[in-house]
């Protein structure tokens, strides 16, 4: 059973603090994680960095992350050269 | 008062939605305006006169930072002028001419009350033959023995046709 964390429409430096806290908690839990970024309309470097940092840390404990990105997020990942490293999180089927 | 039917008249004027009117007194008669056009009611304060304007335009005042012209309706309608006192009242109205919205204050003797009229209660007015130009009058309404002259604010406060107006008033 995967826990879902939903990103706000504005995933910018002013809003990352809250999501960061929740994701830190997620790291201390167990099981796979879904980060729902489908509603994200604006994202900046801080938002991207947070998503990436979380993905990186989650991978260390062999839990899988499914990122459900909005087109904006996809585009931003590509612009920042993060698409490859995040590709495993962008797989089609979310964990159940 | 006998209002005769006249088949060549324009269709009956209907009051605006809300059907509420603010009534006020000028001399011996009672007038009414659409309540939705009333912004506020104030006492009289000195106005700065505007050059080369008819005497019924008293001038402009500072209404919380906005420049608002004040009009004396008694003078406008050609009635005798009375001096202003502490009971003199100014009704601040919103007039809409096309796309332009104006805020204008009118000096009246006293404010009466707010009343509701059912739709269709305003009858077109016959030609008075008085100095009140019937272009400004939307119609007449009968309310429990009171006759109210319902004014068409947008027409009344149209300064753009100032030249025409000053030619028409007595």
């Amino acid at each position: 059973m995967a826990a879902t964390y939903t990103c706000p429409p504005e995933l910018m430096i002013s809003k990352v603090g809250d999501l960061h806290d929740r994701l830190v908690e997620a790291l201390q839990a167990e099981g796979d994680v879904i980060v729902d970024a489908s509603a994200v309309e604006r994202i900046d470097g801080a938002g991207l960095q947070l998503l990436y940092a979380f993905a990186k840390d989650l991978a260390k404990s062999q839990r899988s992350l499914h990122l459900n990105p909005s087109p904006v997020v996809r585009d931003a990942l590509a612009a920042a050269g993060l698409t490859d490293v995040m590709s495993h999180t962008l797989a089609e089927e979310p964990p159940s | 008062m006998n209002i005769s039917e006249n088949t060549t008249r324009e269709p009956l004027h209907e009051t605006a939605d809300g059907d509420q009117l603010l009534t006020f007194v000028l001399g011996d008669e009672e007038y009414a305006v659409d309540i939705l056009r009333v912004q506020e009611i104030r006492g009289w304060s000195a106005a700065t006169p505007i050059p080369n304007t008819p005497s019924w335009i008293k001038g402009i005042i500072n209404l919380r930072g906005a420049i608002v012209p004040i009009v004396d309706l008694r003078e406008r309608f050609g009635m005798t002028v009375t001096p202003y006192g502490p009971t003199t009242v100014v009704i601040v109205l919103r007039a809409i001419q096309g796309e332009k919205e104006r805020t204008v204050g009118v000096v009246v003797d006293a404010v009466s009350d707010v009343c509701s009229l059912r739709e269709g209660a305003v009858q077109p007015s016959p030609d008075f033959g008085t100095s009140v130009d019937t272009g400004f009058v939307r119609g007449l309404a009968n309310l429990a023995e009171r006759m109210l002259i319902v004014l068409e604010i947008d027409q009344l406060l149209d300064f753009d046709s100032l030249n025409d107006i000053s030619a028409r008033t007595a």
Partner: protein
């Protein structure tokens, strides 16, 4: 990406940037056409087209992509030197810009499917692109720019933001996107410095990037992307060896931003970047226009934010003046400190107000920009050779004044070309140079902006003007009008119709509208003309709309305000110096000259106190017709006032520029001298003939 607030904002940015890009292209093309462009210009036009194509693609605006692609192909040939410039190419590309502008307009109005480009234009562009190499047939050889081969360069960029880069309001993502727009990029992100989540402050930046960029841009362009964040990152830009790089002396003005602390990882020390030799190192022409988003010198701010600030400052000025008044009226000595504080507040407010007003100011060059194109096109249409000379482009005006003066100026310049400048043949018979000149200059004069439009055309035929005016019943045949008054007739609605124009060799349609628009801005316009030599139009406009340094005066029971800048002097007048000219006109002898005397109480129809001249005061002010004297009761203080419009709730009043709220809360009218002189009927001052002394 066609829904959501974000894409709306992205769209707006695209629209604005495309606007800028099209303007840049137009300016560049006009330069190339006039023979004053060079390879830098070609490159920047090409890049702009490329950007617009890219942006259009992102939003699926296929017609724009298609048209831009055609333009880009042609431009590509020019910049690579495989095709030389011709005026036909210039015309085709300018037409392309016009169509792109119309397409952009539909996008601006909400459309996602702008109209297709005209097949005629596409065919033109294609044929120009496909024509046999060299000069296109049938075109006049116009001076070709010194186009040299521009090569694609490779840059290696190491971008390591400091931890606080994001906290200072910058965004590495935006910077990376900027780089993307310069060409094609390969971006690699490095997470070495990224701490674990528990220790991570998400507002700090711990990612670094390496970007390989292929572009035709210069290293300065690349550096400009990072101009904002120079102090908040470690940046290294290296140009990989390109084919053509000969080693000219390194340009001292464009040092590579090198990393002080972290030594570059690569073994070889980065070679100093060689500026490509064809980029004119001598000229300081920026290779990117000032208005792109990479420019550190400016930011885009919504105009409503500026207006809100302007309003707030206006209210602040009123409050401060109220306090000043109170402090002046209080006389207890312990209020000295209060007074000092209030004076300080006055200074602060004034500075703030000046700063805010400056935000609204834009250079008139913004409006002048469309004129060369207009003159070129119109001249060609009419078969005339006309040159437009502009001066004073940096003269600044309030944005709203600028917007409203734009159309009148266009109108007046059109008139000069259309009706003023004669055909080449006629000019030659008159001994004039075949090329006609229209000159437009802008300058600051006192508290106003002066704009002059001069042409060396045929001038205005005053006699025909008079004849027409008589014919239309505007003046009686026996009326004797001064030349100035006759010339003024061109502004009369009765003579300003199309029908009238075809018969007069004077100005064209809509001069009355032009004058009305200018007056509504609180400005004035005059015309002067010498037959056979030319015509000059002089427009005066207020510098700012909202705040005025005022000289207060009293007339009767009311306080009025006069713009301080127009006050020359004030004095107690003497009846002995007053003369009547008949028809109610009076003049006053001021030292060696005579100035018209305007009795404000008469002009305003409002009572004044002073009966004899000696009981009142004469304020000598500037007017478009020279100095005039305003007769008032008393001079009051000076203060800054916030101009409030009479038109919101009332309408225009002759002789009044607006109203203001004084410190005591009452309303004071602001006197408008130009319209007062009109009310009075003042002609340019001259000595009276047969003057009589005026009885007291």
């Amino acid at each position: 990406m066609s829904n959501g607030l974000f894409s709306g904002q992205l769209r707006n940015i695209f629209i604005e940037e495309t606007d800028d890009g099209l303007e840049l292209m137009e300016q560049g093309l006009l330069q190339l056409d006039a023979g004053t462009g060079d390879s830098d210009v070609v490159n920047s036009v090409f890049r702009a087209a490329h950007s617009i194509k890219g942006g259009g693609g992102t939003f699926g605006l296929t017609p724009m992509v298609q048209l831009t692609h055609h333009a880009e192909s042609l431009l590509d040939q020019i910049r690579l030197g495989t095709r030389s410039w011709s005026s036909e190419i210039g015309s085709a590309l300018l037409s392309a810009i016009d169509e792109l502008r119309s397409m952009l307009e539909t996008v601006r109005n909400g459309s996602d499917a702008p109209p297709q480009p005209s097949s005629e234009l596409l065919a033109r562009l294609e044929s120009l692109t496909d024509a046999a190499f060299g000069a296109a047939p049938n075109s006049e050889p116009s001076p070709s720019p010194k186009v040299e081969v521009a090569t694609e360069k490779q840059f290696h960029i190491d971008f390591s933001p400091h931890a606080d880069l994001m906290a200072t309001g910058n965004d590495p993502l935006l910077l990376l996107r900027e780089l993307q727009r310069l060409g094609s990029v390969h971006v690699t992100c490095c997470d070495e410095r990224l701490p674990p989540m528990e220790l991570l402050d998400p507002r700090d930046c711990h990612l670094t990037w390496t970007v390989r960029l292929s572009t035709i841009s210069t290293v300065e362009d690349v550096q400009e992307v990072f101009a904002w964040v120079e102090d908040e990152c470690d940046l290294e830009i290296r140009e990989e060896p390109a084919v053509d790089a000969a080693p000219p002396a390194p340009d001292a003005e464009a040092p590579v931003a090198e990393t002080p602390a972290t030594a570059p990882a690569a073994g070889a020390a980065p070679a100093p970047v060689q500026p490509p030799k064809d980029a004119s190192a001598a000229s300081n022409e920026p290779s990117r226009p000032k208005k792109t988003s990479g420019d550190p010198g400016s930011i885009r701010v919504g105009i409503e934010k500026v207006d809100a600030l302007v309003d707030m400052v206006g209210e602040l000025v009123i409050t401060q003046s109220m306090l000043s008044q109170l402090s002046r009226e209080s006389d207890a000595s312990r209020l000295e400190a209060l007074r000092a504080g209030v004076q300080q507040l006055e200074r602060n407010t004034r500075e703030l107000q000046e700063g805010v007003m400056r935000m609204r100011m834009l250079p008139i060059g913004v409006v002048f920009a469309r004129l060369p194109r207009l003159v070129r096109d119109l001249g060609r249409q009419l078969g005339k050779d006309v040159e437009l000379i502009t001066t004073g482009e940096t003269t600044e005006l309030d944005k709203t004044v600028l917007e409203k003066i734009s159309d009148p100026l266009v109108h007046l310049v059109r008139n000069s070309v259309d009706h003023g400048i004669e055909g080449a043949d006629r000019r030659q018979t008159l001994g004039k140079p075949a090329r006609g000149t229209v000159e437009i200059t802008a300058s600051h004069r006192g508290g106003a902006v002066l704009i002059e439009i001069r042409d060396d055309g045929g001038g205005i035929d005053v006699e025909r003007l008079r004849a027409k005016a008589v014919e239309r019943g505007l003046i009686a045949p026996s009326d004797e009008l001064e030349r100035a008054a006759l010339l003024d007739l061109i502004f009369h609605p009765g003579l300003s119709t199309a029908e009238a124009v075809s018969d007069i060799s004077g100005r064209g349609v809509g001069m009355d509208v032009v004058r009305r628009n200018i007056r509504e801005l609180g400005g004035s316009i005059e015309v002067n003309s010498t037959p056979g030599e030319g015509t000059r139009l002089t427009i005066r406009l207020p510098l700012t709309l909202a705040i005025l340094d005022g000289q207060l005066f009293r007339l009767g029971a009311q306080t009025y305000v006069l713009p301080l800048v127009s006050v020359i002097e004030s004095l107690v007048p003497h009846t002995t110096r007053l003369s009547a000219l008949g028809a109610g006109a009076e003049v006053y002898r001021l030292r060696d000259s005579f100035i018209p005397l305007l009795r404000l109480s008469k002009l305003y129809g409002l009572p004044g106190d002073a009966r004899r001249l000696e009981d009142g005061l004469l304020i000598v002010t500037e007017s478009p017709q020279g100095p005039v004297g305003l007769f008032v009761d008393e001079l009051l203080g000076q203060q800054q006032v916030v101009i409030k419009s009479m038109e919101t709730n009332f309408g225009r009043v002759d002789g009044v520029a607006g109203a203001t709220i004084l410190g005591n809360g009452s309303v004071a009218l602001i006197a408008d001298v130009p319209s007062l002189t009109r009310l009075h009927g003042v002609s340019p001052s001259r000595a009276p003939n047969g003057a009589q002394h005026c009885a007291a």
